[in-house]
């Protein structure tokens, strides 16, 4: 929800980044305030997933220009784990499987590490078990998932629910959800979206990176941004997503140079 008195959580200015020496981000600008839901849309290869990974600190990406302030402080002086403890969360498009580590063990380790980083008390295994089971209800997850290895043998939908469960546990200020809707059937999408909606509040913000408008039927964005060639070329209200759904992305990029500049500045 857009509010006058909300606090700026994330401020991205002119962000440039490369992977393997190839520039993918070519001047991203984005301002995210508390209480807001943003959707970043764009065709494949337009840089939207790279943007998510760069913010979280993936080591394969090199930041070559621009600034990012997270709650007013330079994000890039923080290691990925410090960003997580500070309240930045990335929901992975392809969550990693870790055979041999019980999901409960992983979730508790992550929770306690982040809690300690925020100067709060840890939970012992029994306390954590109660706590996590409550959170799992939010995502209609079977408690069996606690005993299984992290993401191992999980279906696409189960992995994404496990990501949102982590978001629920870590209580980030800014959650960036990278293609959280990909590979989900309609029921899983409804559950995952319902979880995100319950977690979104006036003090945090959600950035949805998505290829399709479908997710936005369930999580209503305050802003829709369109990326192309490593920049945001257009920003609009929720209706922009519907327009993209019916017209595709091409109409935005058909007109050269000046038009793009105008879109990005809007």
């Amino acid at each position: 929800m857009i509010r006058e008195d909300s606090k700026t959580l994330l401020e991205v200015r002119g962000l440039r980044a490369t992977v393997n020496g190839i520039e993918i981000l070519k001047g991203m600008d984005l301002t995210v305030k508390s209480g807001e839901v943003h959707a970043i849309m764009g065709p494949n290869g337009s840089g939207k997933s790279t943007f998510a990974k760069v913010l979280a600190g993936h080591p394969a990406y090199v930041v070559t220009g621009g600034t990012v302030l997270f709650e007013g402080k330079d994000l890039f002086v923080l290691a990925p784990e410090a960003r997580a403890r500070a309240g930045l969360f990335l929901g992975f498009q392809y969550p990693i499987e870790i055979p041999g580590v019980a999901n409960s063990q992983f979730l508790r380790l992550a929770y306690n590490t982040v809690q300690t980083g925020r100067g709060r008390d840890e939970l012992d295994p029994l306390e954590f078990d109660d706590f996590v089971r409550e959170k799992m209800k939010l995502l209609e997850m079977n408690p069996d998932f606690l005993d299984r290895s992290v993401n191992e043998g999980f279906s696409g939908g189960e992995k994404k629910r496990n990501e949102i469960l982590q978001m629920a546990l870590l209580e980030p200020r800014v959650a960036i959800l990278d293609e959280t809707d990909s590979g989900l059937d309609i029921d899983a999408l409804r559950i995952v979206a319902g979880g995100v909606n319950q977690l979104a509040n006036k003090d945090n913000a959600v950035v949805l990176v998505t290829h399709y408008q479908r997710l936005l039927n369930y999580i209503e964005p305050d802003y829709v941004h369109v990326t192309e060639a490593g920049r945001i070329i257009k920003t609009g209200p929720k209706a922009l997503a519907l327009e993209l759904e019916s017209r595709g992305y091409d109409w935005l990029s058909e007109k050269p140079g000046a038009e793009h500049g105008a879109g990005a500045a809007a």
Binding site: E81, L90, G100, A110, V114
Partner: protein, 430 residues
């Protein structure tokens, strides 16, 4: 053929040998083995099977046979006792320790070989030394030359061991050579879990030269967990020989954490149609340790199945060797075999040599194999860091997970948890 004098190391080891009286079954076996030791030499890196493992650190030390048995108390062995396995045989420096052991009799027989010999001499004569061939293996010949006792497990037809059977071998003395021996014979339709466990109560150098034979009759099922956690200065040479019959299933899990230098040969032979073998292996070494595992799964008859997963975690300037040989004989049609060798290097100085060796002489078979050597996956480390875990914790957890994937198949919870703790503690140091 080499004379004894040409191979001082083996000759010196044999010098402490009590001459075989030749009268009973064991005596005749010992006499053959003594003769064979005299004809064999200690392998060198010029031998294909020992290319990566130089035995010089082992042969530099002279070992004595144990003269006086160390008297251990229940408190001494308490750290190794498994609550799930009340039936237990304990051997100290290779010598049976009756005061620490709790044998079992009846359909599930757990006994020292010597004690069971009068009643079981025919079986022992038939089986002992049959699977673990010593013709071309100096260490197996040496073990056999010393065989006058050992651990015996006999499962009667259709018998099920309700609880795991624990064979505990404890090294306690400096520069002593111990020759543990196991014989497990599972009659038709029987089933059991056997834990073969090598531990140490001394930090010094010593030699464990162990041989185990496992004979499964039709439809027998055996879970065999072999744990090698010798002292960091110890030497361990092991030979496990298994034969599986029609419809029988052998599941072996081989864990190697200890020893300055270890070599473990595993040989599984499928002797009848439709036997099944699963082998899991984990070698975790650091410092200047060397762990060498050579396995052979020999499918001689049709419809056999084998599945093998071997993992090595190597840190410091340690080395691990894995040679996984799969043989499918002519006529062993419809064999289904898979082998995976996965290896994790934790330091720039660590080294792994892994070699799948497939010898397939039948044309209608499925044999899959794969080997990987690498460091921790950057995406996996990043995933954990993105959840707040430090670099060190992320690496430790992933290393632990890599090993735990093998450990989780161990069907004895207290042993599994202890080994998991060992892996966790080691990953935190790494």
């Amino acid at each position: 053929m080499m004379k004894v004098a040409d191979n001082k190391f083996l000759a010196d080891l044999l010098a402490g040998h009590v001459p075989a009286d030749g009268g009973d079954a064991l005596g005749r076996l010992r006499a053959r083995a003594v003769e064979r030791v005299g004809a064999l030499t200690v392998p060198t890196t010029r031998d294909e099977d020992w290319r990566f493992t130089d035995l010089a650190p082992l042969t530099r030390i002279s070992y004595q046979p144990v003269r006086a048995a160390t008297a251990l108390t229940a408190a001494d062995i308490a750290p190794f006792v498994l609550t799930e396995a009340p039936a237990r045989l304990v051997f100290v420096d290779g010598i049976y320790a009756p005061q620490l052991s709790t044998p079992a009799s009846g359909a599930v027989l757990l006994s020292s070989l010597a004690a069971a010999l009068p009643a079981q001499s025919a079986l022992v004569e038939n089986e002992l030394g049959r699977m673990a061939a010593f013709e071309n293996n100096a260490f197996t010949a040496l073990n056999t030359a010393f065989v006058n006792d050992g651990a015996l497990v006999l499962l009667a037809r259709g018998a099920t061991a309700a609880q795991p059977l624990h064979l505990l071998f404890i090294a306690t003395q400096k520069e002593v050579a111990g020759y543990p021996r196991c014989l497990v014979v599972a009659a038709a339709g029987s089933s059991a879990t056997v834990i073969e466990d090598y531990v140490a109560l001394t930090p010094d150098a010593y030699l464990t030269n162990a041989v185990g034979e496992f004979v499964l009759a039709d439809d027998a099922r055996l879970n065999h967990v072999r744990v090698q956690r010798e002292s960091a200065a110890g030497f361990h040479i092991g030979h496990t020989a298994v034969s599986i019959a029609h419809g029988s299933r052998y599941h072996g899990i081989n864990i190697g954490f200890g020893a300055r230098l270890s070599r473990h040969n595993v040989e599984v032979v499928q002797t009848a149609e439709g036997g099944e073998c699963e082998l899991g292996g984990l070698a975790m070494v650091d410092g200047s340790q060397l762990a060498d595992t050579h396995t052979t799964i020999d499918h001689t008859k049709p419809h056999g199945a084998s599945r093998q997963q071997h993992k090595c975690i190597v840190g410091g300037s340690a080395r691990a060797v894995f040679n996984g040989r799969i043989v499918v004989r002519q006529g062993a049609q419809l064999t289904n075999s898979s082998q995976s060798s996965r290896n994790l290097l934790l330091s720039d100085r660590a080294r792994i040599d892994t070699k799948p060796q497939l010898e397939i002489f039948a044309d209608d078979v499925k044999c899959a194999h794969g080997a990987t050597v690498g460091q921790l996956d950057a995406d996996e480390v990043f995933y954990l860091k993105s959840r707040g875990l430090s670099e060190a914790t992320a690496r430790s957890l992933l290393t632990y997970a890599f090993g735990a994937e093998i450990l989780r198949d161990i069907p004895v919870a207290s042993l599994r948890q202890r080994l998991e703790q060992t892996v966790l503690a080691r990953t935190e140091i790494a």
